[in-house]
């Protein structure tokens, strides 16, 4: 069964450093997403991406965040200057409009 893959599974970074989280969505999907989940809290929407551009973003997704689809398979989330409160599990997801959205296993980010 096709799946969304994410790397790294864990990353520890110093506050102020840049972080890039990588995702390979399911190959024929057209919609891509990033979500995050702070430990013990609900899953929060960050951004959706369709047709090579952001289609919607949340208030969390400020100027420190950016997304890119550099080639036909990867989808990345960049955090420019990490803060302590960016520590969370980050999930990539993909799907077709109005259908099942599939999530990856997540990338644990710890900012110290």
């Amino acid at each position: 069964e096709p799946e969304v893959t994410q790397t790294p599974s864990h990353q520890v970074t110093q506050m102020g450093q840049e972080v890039i989280l990588r995702c390979v969505p399911i190959s024929n999907h057209l919609y891509f997403y990033w979500y995050r989940q702070i430990l013990g809290q609900k899953v929060e929407f960050l951004v959706s991406f369709y047709n090579n551009e952001i289609s919607e973003k949340s208030e969390i997704f400020d100027d420190q965040f950016s997304v890119e689809r550099p080639d036909g398979s990867n989808f990345t989330l960049k955090i420019r200057s990490t803060k302590l409160e960016d520590s969370a599990m980050y999930f990539c997801a993909s799907g077709h409009a109005g259908n099942t959205i599939y999530f990856g296993e997540g990338s644990w980010l710890t900012v110290v």
Binding site: Y31, Y33, Y35, K42, V43, E44, F45, S48, Y50, S55, E56, M89, F91, A93, G95, A97, G98, N99, T100, I101, Y102, F103, G104, E105, G106, W108
Partner: protein, 112 residues
Amino acid sequence: SQQGEEDPQALSIQEGENATMNCSYKTSINNLQWYRQNSGRGLVHLILIRSNEREKHSGRLRVTLDTSKKSSSLLITASRAADTASYFCATDRTDSSYKLIFGSGTRLLVRP
């Protein structure tokens, strides 16, 4: 409260019993999806129910949707210890870019 609120927040049952989790939401939806999350792991898709459907089954899972009450329920029959996890409902709202908004989740403990 926010779109997609589950109750109860936590549920503890004996193996073999049925578990029922409820989800309420506020706005019109295209579909509602249920996910399972084992501690520290990714989101596993369980079932999608569309706004024009009232009930769906998948193995030991039964999902109902009442759009007039803006609520859904997930029933797990004959529960097993391996069903211990958090369960989330997520709504695909009609006024959004096919993104999902997650509820707070129900933590299910199935005692052997």
